[in-house]
Amino acid sequence: MEEVINALMAAIMSNQVNIPLLQPLFRLMVQIPGAGFMVSFILWKPFFAALISPGFATLGILLLFFPWVERKLCGRIQWRVGPHEIVWWLGGIIQLLADSLRFLFQEVIVHKDAQRPYFLQFPFLTFIPTLLPLLFIPAGSIVAIQTPYAIQIILALVCLFPLFIIGLGWASNSRFAFIGTVREAFMYFAYEVAFIVAVLAMVILYGTSDLVEIGAHQAGWVWGICINPVAAVVFFIGAAMATARLPFEIADAEQELAAGPHVEYSGIGFGLIYVICYEKAYILSGLMTVLFLGGGSGPQIGVLGELSGLIWFLLKTFIVMVTLFVLRVLYPRYRLDQALNIGWSSLLSLSLFALALSIAITAVAGAGAVAGAVGGGIV
């Protein structure tokens, strides 16, 4: 028994998040019985990555404040102030807290025509594809599950997004939800192929689909976006389509379909759906950061150790997210057929070009050598 615990402890201790700044504190805490185990468990990389950062806790905080950032920023661009009065001396920063409390305490209406069990299940089921990818996205060297199939798994889960939206719409059994659902299905085909090809281009370039290694490849300043900008553009547009951002907010066009698949959801049901859209954006922005923006690379802050990579990763992800969300104030909405046209012609050909570019670079420089060699050289 003791051997098992010791082996477990050894496994945990061998895979700790290294933070030099906090080391003295941890050493102190280890002497307290129980607390030491707790601390080392929390700092156990898989646990830390999945539940604290970049996993649930970070996501939670982000969900609470990101919509506020978005609303404030959009407000600024639109010559107004956005949420303000709630705590005026902090610029209304806890607006989302009020909104979520309101959603929580509001009546949940299941209308007569709805497919009741599915109507209630789908908002929760949608969390599966939107939360699981978090386990595979590394922030610097912090990752919950490191596997050579990380990209494949994330892509598979990302491609499940629309399935659940379609489920939502179908269970709602309403006309606008129906139209929205069909549009969602169409949109899925518009971006999926190009999106996957763009990721494939990067996999070929790096010669691996292990995201931690990909992040390590870009340790210098030569990021994926510098080597293959075309793939980055395709990925970004694909992400905008996948997260239904304007100009591709076609399935839940509020002015046309009254929020499409979400039209019948109320109370906490809608609250969950509202949150999911930010989660999707978080995951895709995280993936974009790792693939194209160097993951956790950046000037190392020695005392923070591995947290330094984490901070750079979160910062970049945040910027990508903000860019995704600010599209809302810059563009009107495309029509469905126009979006399909973009997806199947420009986007697809761009992605194929990106693929060809990657193949050409790899052929010239040798698989996996490019980013590593150049990046390593600079470092």
Partner: protein, 784 residues
Amino acid sequence: MVEIKTAEGEKDRNISILKTGVLSPLKRWGVKWSLWPCHFVTSCCGVELAHAFACGFDGERLGTLNMGISRQANFIIVEGTITRKMARALRIVWEQMPDPKFVEVIGACGERGGLFWNSYNITRPSDIVPVDFFVPGCPVTPEGLLRGVRAVQHKIEGLDRTTIKFKRVKLPSEPEPGQGKENMVPSSPKVFAPTPAIKVDIRRDVEWAFGAELVKRLESELEGLYERITITDINRIAIKTLPEHLTELAGRLKSGLGVDHVKNVNVIEVPHERKYIVEYMVSGYREDLKPVIINIFTEVGRKPDGEPEQEVPSIARLWASADYSEREMHDFFGIRFAGNEWMGRNFILAPELHTPLRKDFKLDEERYVLEGETPYAPSIKPPTELELPLPPGLLEDAEANEELVALVGPHHTGSGHLRWILRMKGDIIVDVIPDPGYVHRTMEKLAENRLYIQNIPLFERANISDPINMHLGYVRTIEKALGIEVPERASYIRTIMAELSRIGAFFYDSGIFSLFLGHSTGFMYVWAIREMILEAMVRATGSRCTPSFIIPGGIRRDISREVLELIDNFTSAIHRRLRKFEDIFIYNPVFVARAKDVGVLTKEEAIRCGIVGPFLRASGVEYDVRKVEPYEVYDDLDWDITTGDAGDCLGRYMGRYEEIKESLRIVKQAVDTLKSLPRGEIISKELLGEYKAASEDIKGHLFHVYGNLVLPRGEWTTVTEAARGTLLYSIVSDGESNVPYRVRIITPSWLNLRGIVEATKGERVADFWAIYGSFGYFPPEADR
């Protein structure tokens, strides 16, 4: 069948939900800062609602985020008038919302009817849903609206209202005779002639050479089909015919003379002569016919119970533009137009109303009886059921053709205040059926019961985004009847104000257009520019949206030099800000992709379905009332008509954009001229009688001068170029009463409705909103 009923316990239920449970403080705090109004625009106060949530006032500061969907909102802001049709929608939307939910009613109409207090088509929101707070005003200011939001927040929090002590009053209805205190009538008493002499073709000797020629031509062309042809005024001809000759006469006018559209369909009931007069006002876009309006009228017998003795043949097959107006007249008078397929059911009226414009349908009269200190309120019964019928056979037909039917509106982010019945096959719209009348506030009936001067504020409520042009048209009709010349200074000020109003309406429409395309920034930018126009309006007239500025013979008050300077500065400031708007919206590739080659109306189609104004010009017809039949000082200023030939959404929009640039030019020139004019007469002395001193300031003399205004006998018709197109007023006067016998208003939006329908057929579903937005359709204006 579901019945509308406001239960006794409904009123404070939502507050009590928040007050129960241990988590009550959290609940209340959350709801307080997260009141999301559902986007339920019920009437013209919606314009000010938009201002309250645009960048000028930014309602989002309070945590209120406009949400389009009732299921996700918890707050309704009822904007003004709730008509009988809209009452059903209001109740349905309220029922759809999850508890706890709150209602704020803004605008005078929402309280006791406001200006429309004795209309046959209104209800009181408090009878339909429990109301948490009323904000008075007509329309309310954005500040007032936001203050109302604050008040609801305080109510949720449980705070007492500390600033204002509200008095609780019970509104008495229908006082018993002898009860209450009779007050003095504040204005001139109304005089109704007992047997009014109605004649719509009174001969006038005018100098109009083309008219004599035209009459000769008509006489030879229509041999045997007419009873008499009369020149009633310059550019106005009346042809009397029998109902059985109507179709053939119309056909000959169309083929022989090139008459190609109907401006107006009108019915006048003359009960004591036992007849209905049915009029068609037609015209042509041929160069010489443009200013001419030919009034084809016929008489139909009236049975003692009010029913017409025979049907009138419909001319909607010849001129599609007559279709909707015929349906409307069927609603109002019960006249059946043989050949129009819609007959037999209501088009713009609620299902339970029948023939309200007949003279035996009486409205409540103004009575100055007080109960305590409260005037009595007419009793209004809310509708009893929620059903609003669809056209019969529609659903079966759609199912047989494998089509999907979706009802867009009246509660829908992209519907405005009317219901659209979309029939779709895949992503293609097969047909769209409009269901207007949700903001039908019965202006034509109300006008028959008010003094001429009292109708000015009434008509400008038809469209508070373009108020000056709305009442300018009416006042011009009165001036035409009385033959008054307006002083030069007043004329210049009128032109400036009318153009400012036009610019404001364009900004309104661009804001809505960009919202329909999902672009909120475009909306915010133009709405910020619109604030400037409204500021100019406030400085000049004292009111943001409802100035009632223009009165017969002149204007209500003079504009000072400082205000002129301000307007001058605004014209250049607007140019600068428009450039930013261009960058973000007009030259946005996505916008261009959405609007180009969408909803194309060719010149022929546009004329056939009778659209007007900038939308007609965008299809290549060079017709602008300001050039064709110049009024005010448009003739003296240097400006151009903007026409296009694309006829698509982009063309319609850019046409208007160019047009308001011309408008800015007009304003600039008029302001420059006005600066050099000396201050002086602003109301024509011809009209003032003994109150000559009032010609520079009417203050204190308004009712002395205008109270007993009586128009000469006959029918008086004018057309005015309002922001969205040709605005037609037709007043029938008996020459004795000081109220009009009948006023017919044809607003541009009403005429453009047909255009939207025609342009939408065969387009993709998402294009509907692009087309709808590009037409600048303003439902209160269309429904009147």
